[in-house]
């Protein structure tokens, strides 16, 4: 049998890291799916950006998300063993946000995405991270996971996606992002 498929999920269930199986429509699977989707879109943005610092940064984030997914996919008893997101990871994101915001400034109005392709993908990633954050918040509330730092991480990550989007627009030579209001 090919190692690209296992047939074990054909009954509509999927395994946790640790003991237990869940339906594929379970909230935990929805959360994992959203994080997976965000990682993929960040990959598109990484492949498109020409800026070395942004490339590196996005790769770090993708690796963090890979670790974050392991923790979310782990059973409650096993979660600690897979924990890679801690308070320092969140502080690192905040550092990156502050450093990039110093270069870009902060727009005082809402913007519409689409000024350049990599920035548009970063905006899409931001919205998917937000969705993952909403799903994770529900998991936390239900007590299915316990590490609140995962939620903080996703929250800061959506802000990071936004400032990198601004930076990409700036690097593309566009003077200012297109504003949502038609003035």
């Amino acid at each position: 049998m090919s190692s690209f498929y296992t047939r074990t999920g054909d009954d509509g269930n999927t395994g946790l890291l640790g003991k237990g199986r869940l339906p594929k429509f379970d909230l935990r699977m929805e959360t994992l799916g959203a994080i997976d989707e965000a990682t993929a879109i960040l990959g598109i943005a990484r492949s498109l950006t020409k800026d070395h610092d942004n490339k590196e940064l996005l790769l770090h984030v993708q690796r963090d998300l890979y670790g974050l997914m392991s923790e979310v996919a782990a059973s409650k008893e096993e979660a600690n063993r897979f924990r890679v997101i801690c308070a320092d990871s969140i502080r690192w994101l905040e550092e990156q946000i502050d450093a990039i915001a110093q270069l870009t400034g902060t727009p005082h109005e809402f913007i519409v995405p689409g000024d350049c392709v990599q920035a548009a993908f970063l905006d899409q990633a931001r919205t998917v991270v937000r969705r993952a954050e909403r799903r994770l918040a529900e998991l936390l509330q239900r007590g299915a996971i316990e590490n609140h730092e995962l939620l903080s991480y996703l929250n800061r990550l959506s802000s990071l996606c936004f400032v990198i989007e601004l930076r990409e627009i700036q690097l593309a030579g566009i003077e200012q992002p297109t504003l949502a209001k038609d003035s």
Partner: protein, 186 residues
């Protein structure tokens, strides 16, 4: 905090190779590539110093001791070579950790039910602050040192003396006169 594990030595090895670049960079919570989990996914001076002292405490007589001594010597050399960078970084981390510790204490005060478990984890930051205190330029950290004093007063009001919080084989390296907060219970 759990007893030391093999990951801590791997952390030190990896971190040591990245320390010179780390000192030169503007990043404070430096991502480390490797199989690290828990609180060891980022290099900071505080994390590095904490792991070093923890490993030295538990492994003095083991096969790792010569390696640890070598790591410690390399750290001293680096510190002597770049004292300004070292102290500046220590001061920056001290400032950041003060905020983390402060937020954590406020949360504990607001949610007494979760206090005990939260304290056992967060006290790690107070230990790091203690270690960093020795590394920074005190004259540039006056305000932060004052904040720490206030937070310590707050903690003393919140806690009672108790057993050493970490594994007993670490106790000798964290004496109660200096690391009094490791001998407290909420």
């Amino acid at each position: 905090m759990n007893p030391t594990d093999p990951q801590e030595l791997v952390f030190l090895r990896t971190a040591l190779t990245e320390l010179p670049d780390y000192l030169l960079s503007s990043v404070l919570f430096w991502p480390l590539s490797g199989p690290f989990t828990g609180d060891l996914t980022r290099l900071t001076l505080g994390n590095f110093l904490l792991v070093l002292i923890r490993l030295k405490a538990t492994e003095t007589a083991s096969q790792y001791s010569p390696e640890l001594l070598s790591i410690q010597n390399q750290v001293v050399q680096l510190k002597n070579k770049e004292p300004g960078l070292w102290r500046r970084k220590a001061g920056q981390e001290f400032h950041a950790r003060i905020q983390m510790w402060k937020n954590s204490l406020i949360e504990m005060m607001n949610d007494p039910g979760q206090c005990s478990a939260e304290f056992r984890h967060a006290v790690r930051w107070r230990v790091i602050l203690e270690l960093l205190k020795e590394e920074l330029y005190p004259e540039t950290a006056t305000a932060d040192l004052e904040v720490l004093q206030h937070l310590d007063d707050m903690l003393r009001r919140l806690c009672n003396p108790g057993q050493f919080l970490w594994a007993s084989d670490l106790e000798a390296s964290f004496p109660s006169n200096r690391f009094w907060f490791l001998y407290m219970n909420i």
